[in-house]
């Protein structure tokens, strides 16, 4: 019996784009359009996320790579940023009280740069004013007076002591190391030992006592000298402070007036003023021969380094909020870092070596990051989360955290953070983070989900044409003829694997346009023609289909066993899709089933050998269920079946072969052969309904290529689920073969329809009593299952059962 099911008409295999619906000659006639076409949901989400205020309202733009997420978001952000004022300038300056904790100063945009220049001028002016002040006659006179005062005080004290000594005929002598008291004779000469010994005992004793008393007084007096010296030094310092204060006050006041609206800056200027006064000696000119100079210290620049201003972020050249894209989101590039300089073998740092991160630069604006890159950089993700949670950018040295260096480091004052972070990444990253990182949902509350496809309609076709025109203009490509646009729209549907959809994968379309432009140039076409587009498509495929060709070659040579003619029991042509990078193609696979008495078990050899994935195993288990529920329900399922993908040495995943496997199984049970001129694809449920699968176009084309290679007989074809018909966007050669009745594509809805096409005999529907017609395939299947059940029952009663029955 021949099945009544008709093959699909050629029109159903490829949905053309009607050129008459596109009112233009070339894309030059078309107006530009946002390349955000078909991404209304994502655009709304981005707009919402960028405008809403509140903690954690950062964005995650999710979707496949190449769908234009980055350019779409950048376009929207730039529009919004243009309406916002520029961000603040941030500077790090020295903390004179705690140099390891530099102070962060905030300025309106541009004033940070100005402040840095003002401070440089101030220090230059101070460097000139202080030496001038200390060269003044007033200072010199006063300093000499103070010094003279000390010397006079010391001199007076010594002279008084000397006079006291002279009253006792004792002179104060200078010795190589100090002073001594020597008794004198009447000639005013120091007594020599002989003269001394000639004196009476009392005289000697008196002299000795007097000398000892004078010695004691001298000791006490000299002990006072350091104290007097200290007092003098303090007076000099106080005086020097006064001089320095008077010299720099007018200069500092100018600066204070200029920044009076910024209290923190005023505090810093005051601290600078105090420090200059305290270390006024540093404004002297150091000799280059100083040992300190050789150590890199003590030079004028080194000494005045502490008054410098490290302009971390300057927005003087911007008039809108910053939009920063950090391409290498490492820890340091995100959070900022403290760099070091090698000096005499040691690593040193100070506040001038603090470098900004992307968060600093984007503060007050927007920061675009690629999620995958952030996650790949060590500690970048954790530090980004920590910073967003804290609302402050705290620069911490990773080296110090991990003990990689033991040199002194800085703890810069954290800077308040006001930024929208936009992460861009694939969907699986979003869902993984959402599921496994508890911080993620709180920090990235807005998801902008980019569509893979958009509806294909008359209006959208025209919009799509405009988008193609815009892309061509953006990329400085040639204009496209209408037919070329038509072909691109049709190809877009093929890329979407759906005749009712268009792909939104902008990168693929852009690449194709560039390549078509290239071929147009090669051919000397002024505009891109349909041939150029087709050539670009063909060449893209040609460059990557080496593996497909090798596989087809091996099938053709009989190395891989595929029949396209004849009939075989328990054997069917299944179809699978092989994905290699961005290129996928269909490949027929022989599926076989064997049967014997058993305990109702369907053995999936792929699963047993761990070559089958979970979904594939699920599909096979559904077969068991289908058998037991559809045939001889009152009897135990008493067979053991084995199903295998022949010559498959890699993993098999998916349930798209479950219909083929079921057909092979039923063929084996009924002992009815299957036509090998057909290949089938589709999954099946427990009720025998055929369900749609993916990659239908590639699968059909894969079997067509093999049949074409063996020779088209007019009997060959592919059975696909009826619900996949709308996905058909087949190659032109396939459609042409169908048109010429050389190849057929059937859509099926049930297992029975499939069996009838494959075997050529009726499948058979159950009557009111639940029995299949005697001449149907299902009848044969059920009969075989009942025989297995009886046989099993006999074995269950022991060895004599068979004898009794007979």
């Amino acid at each position: 019996m021949k099945s009544e099911l008709k093959p699909l008409s050629p029109d159903a295999l490829y949905t053309v784009c009607n050129p008459n619906e596109l009112p233009f000659k070339t894309t030059t006639d078309l107006e530009d359009i946002d390349i955000t076409l078909g991404q209304q949901r994502a655009c709304d989400a981005v707009q919402f996320g960028l405008h809403i205020k509140g903690n954690g309202y950062n964005l995650f733009a999710l979707g496949p790579a190449g769908t234009g997420k980055f350019s779409t978001i950048q376009q929207i952000i730039r529009q919004i940023a243009a309406e916002r004022p520029p961000a603040f300038d941030w500077c790090y300056v020295n903390n004179f009280a705690r140099p390891y904790q530099p102070i962060a100063l905030k300025f309106p945009a541009g004033q940070g740069t100005q402040f840095r220049e003002d401070m440089e001028h101030l220090i230059d002016d101070v460097s000139a004013a202080i030496p001038a002040a200390f060269e003044s006659e007033e200072y010199r006179t006063r300093a000499e007076e103070l010094e003279e005062e000390l010397h006079q005080r010391q001199s007076d004290a010594l002279t008084a002591l000397q006079n006291e000594a002279r009253n006792h005929h004792i002179e104060m002598l200078k010795t190589p190391a100090g002073f001594a008291f020597a008794p004198m004779n009447k000639k005013n000469e120091v007594l020599d030992p002989e003269q001394f010994n000639q004196l009476s005992e009392d005289e000697r004793k008196e002299i000795k006592n007097n000398v000892e008393k004078l010695h004691d007084k001298l000791k006490k007096l000299l002990g006072q000298f350091p104290i007097w010296r200290k007092e003098m030094v303090e007076k000099v310092r106080t005086f020097e402070r006064e001089i320095a204060q008077s010299a720099i006050s007018p200069l500092v006041e100018i600066l204070k007036n200029r920044y009076q609206h910024l209290p923190e800056v005023i505090d810093y200027i005051a601290a600078v003023q105090n420090d200059i006064i305290e270390y006024v000696h540093d404004f002297q000119v150091q000799s280059d021969e100083s040992p300190l100079f050789l150590l890199g210290k003590g030079s004028r620049e080194q000494v005045l380094q502490r008054y410098k201003v490290n302009l971390l972020v300057g927005n003087s050249e911007h008039d809108t909020a910053p939009v920063i894209h950090e391409n290498i989101p490492s820890y340091g590039n995100l959070i900022g870092r403290c760099e070091y300089q090698a000096q005499m073998g040691a690593l040193v740092t100070d506040f001038t070596l603090i470098k900004p991160g992307a968060l600093h630069k984007a503060n007050g604006g927007y920061l675009l990051l690629e999620a995958r890159k952030v996650l790949q950089q060590p500690y970048a993700w954790e530090s980004l989360k920590r910073t967003l949670e804290a609302g402050k950018i705290r620069i911490e040295s990773l080296e110090r955290t991990f003990g990689l260096i033991s040199t002194a480091s800085l703890e810069p004052e954290p800077i308040p953070l006001d930024v929208k972070v936009i992460l861009i990444g694939e969907r699986f990253l979003y869902y993984l983070l959402d599921q496994f990182d508890p911080d993620f949902p709180a920090l990235f509350k807005v998801a902008a989900d980019f569509e893979d496809t958009m509806d294909r309609s008359r209006e959208n076709n025209l919009l799509y044409a405009r988008m193609i025109g815009s892309l061509a203009r953006q990329e400085n490509l040639k204009p496209l003829e209408k037919k070329a646009v038509v072909r691109l729209i049709e190809h877009s549907s093929r890329l979407a694997s759906d005749s009712e959809k268009l792909t939104t994968h902008v990168r693929s379309m852009t690449d194709l346009l560039r390549e078509a432009d290239h071929w147009a140039s090669q051919s000397g076409h002024p505009d891109i023609t349909v041939d150029d587009v087709q050539q670009a498509i063909d060449k893209q495929i040609y460059r990557v289909d080496r593996v497909r060709e090798r596989i087809n070659e091996e099938i053709r040579r009989g190395t891989i066993l595929i029949d396209t003619e004849g009939e075989v029991v328990g054997q069917v042509n299944g179809l699978s899709v092989i994905q290699l990078g961005n290129f996928s193609f269909g490949k027929p696979s022989r599926i076989t089933a064997t049967m014997r008495l058993g305990e109702g078990e369907v053995v999936d050899i792929e699963r047993e050998t761990e070559l089958g994935g979970a979904i594939h195993s699920k599909g096979v288990l559904i077969l068991s269920s289908f058998l037991s529920s559809n045939y001889s329900r009152d009897e135990p399922l008493s067979m053991t079946a084995s199903i295998v993908f022949e010559q498959s040495y890699a993993g098999v995943e998916g349930d798209s072969a479950s219909l083929a496997e079921l057909c092979a199984l039923l063929s084996a049970l009924a002992h009815v052969p299957i036509r090998q001129s057909f290949a089938i694809t589709g999954s099946v449920n427990q009720h025998g309904q055929v369900q749609p699968i993916g990659g239908v176009n590639e699968k059909i084309e894969g079997f067509f290529d093999i049949c074409n290679a063996f020779g088209l007989t007019g009997k060959q074809g592919v059975l696909i689920p009826q619900r996949n018909v709308k996905h058909l966007m087949l190659r032109h050669d396939v459609v042409k073969a169908v048109e010429e009745d050389k190849f057929h594509i059937y859509s099926v809805e049930t297992v029975n329809q499939t069996l009838e096409l494959l075997t050529g005999m009726p499948a058979g529907e159950k009557d009111d009593k639940g029995a299949f017609p005697v001449d149907s395939l299902n009848y044969l299947v059920e009969k075989q299952l009942l025989e297995f059940a009886a046989l099993r029952r006999r074995y269950a009663h022991g060895p004599d059962s068979k004898k009794l029955d007979s």
Binding site: P131, L173, D192, P193, L222
Partner: protein, 274 residues
């Protein structure tokens, strides 16, 4: 007043210069300056090292002690130790003299005298044209101590030590000779010269200034004049100190004046010109 200065403005020929040093004072600088002058004039350089007899006598007393100037520590003294110290200083001075003479190729003599520094200097001074004295003369110190605080200005470029030689000029023939020697010394040692015009009247100072300008016209870049307002020695000492004078050159007219100078402390080495 006659403003005409006649003559060559050169210090006349001398046979030798004498440098009187002792153990108490640093003699390196004065020896170097003297050696350069001797080399320029191709004359002999005689160094008298005077061992202070008072120190030796005192150190022989049973209670001889000294109080250290820096630490105020009390130390016992004895004669042997004192003599060793003085010998050591003499040897050190001799070695320095040898080195300078070798470098500058000059003749030299070295003599150790034991006696009172002032007395010995006085006796020598009357017999020589030029006598160099190390800083601070006299039996005892003038009770002035070294500078104890580094003032800011001391490190400023414009007030750095300028290597200044000072000479007192009062219009007398002796001061004219002193000025001539000072000029030669300044040239020989590449020093600047500060001429202290000692006059009681303003008009005299102006005359002196013109005379000095005439004498030093070929060296005006290294010469500067300052009028001393007072004739007393304290005024002179203040100027020397303020200008950080490296050496003072004066003429000696008689023994009385010399004795007075020796009792004063100019705060720098002294050159006495006959």
């Amino acid at each position: 007043m006659n403003t005409e200065i006649t003559g060559t403005h050169e210090f006349g020929p001398i046979s030798r210069i004498i440098i009187a040093v002792d153990a108490l004072h640093e003699s390196l600088n004065v020896l170097e300056l003297a050696a350069k002058l001797a080399a320029k004039k191709h004359i002999e350089m005689s160094v008298l090292f005077i061992e202070d007899v008072n120190l030796i006598n005192y150190s022989g007393l049973p209670f001889a002690r000294e109080v250290d100037l820096v630490s105020a520590a009390d130390r016992q003294l004895d004669m042997l130790q004192m003599m060793r110290t003085l010998q050591s200083q003499a040897q050190k001075t001799f070695r320095l003299l040898e080195r300078l003479a070798s470098q500058l190729k000059i003749d030299y003599s070295f003599k150790i005298l034991r006696g009172d520094y002032a007395t010995e200097v006085q006796s020598v001074a009357m017999k020589t044209d030029v006598l160099f004295l190390s800083k601070r003369v006299g039996r005892y110190s003038s009770m002035r101590l070294e500078r104890s605080y580094r003032f800011t200005r001391s490190t400023m470029p414009s007030v750095k030590m300028q290597n200044i030689l000072c000479v007192v000029y009062d219009g007398s023939p002796g001061s004219l000779r002193a000025l001539a020697l000072a000029k030669e010394l300044a040239i020989a040692t590449d020093r600047n010269l500060l001429i202290l015009l000692q006059s009681s009247r303003n008009e005299s100072a102006d005359v002196f200034r013109k005379q000095v300008a005439e004498i030093t016209k070929d060296e005006e870049n290294r010469v500067r004049c300052v009028a001393l307002s007072e004739r007393d020695s304290s005024s002179l000492a203040r100027v020397l100190k303020r200008e950080k004078c490296e050496m003072l050159i004066v003429h000696k007219s008689d023994e009385g004046q010399l004795a007075g100078m020796l009792l004063q402390d100019p705060g720098c080495p002294l050159v006495l010109v006959q």
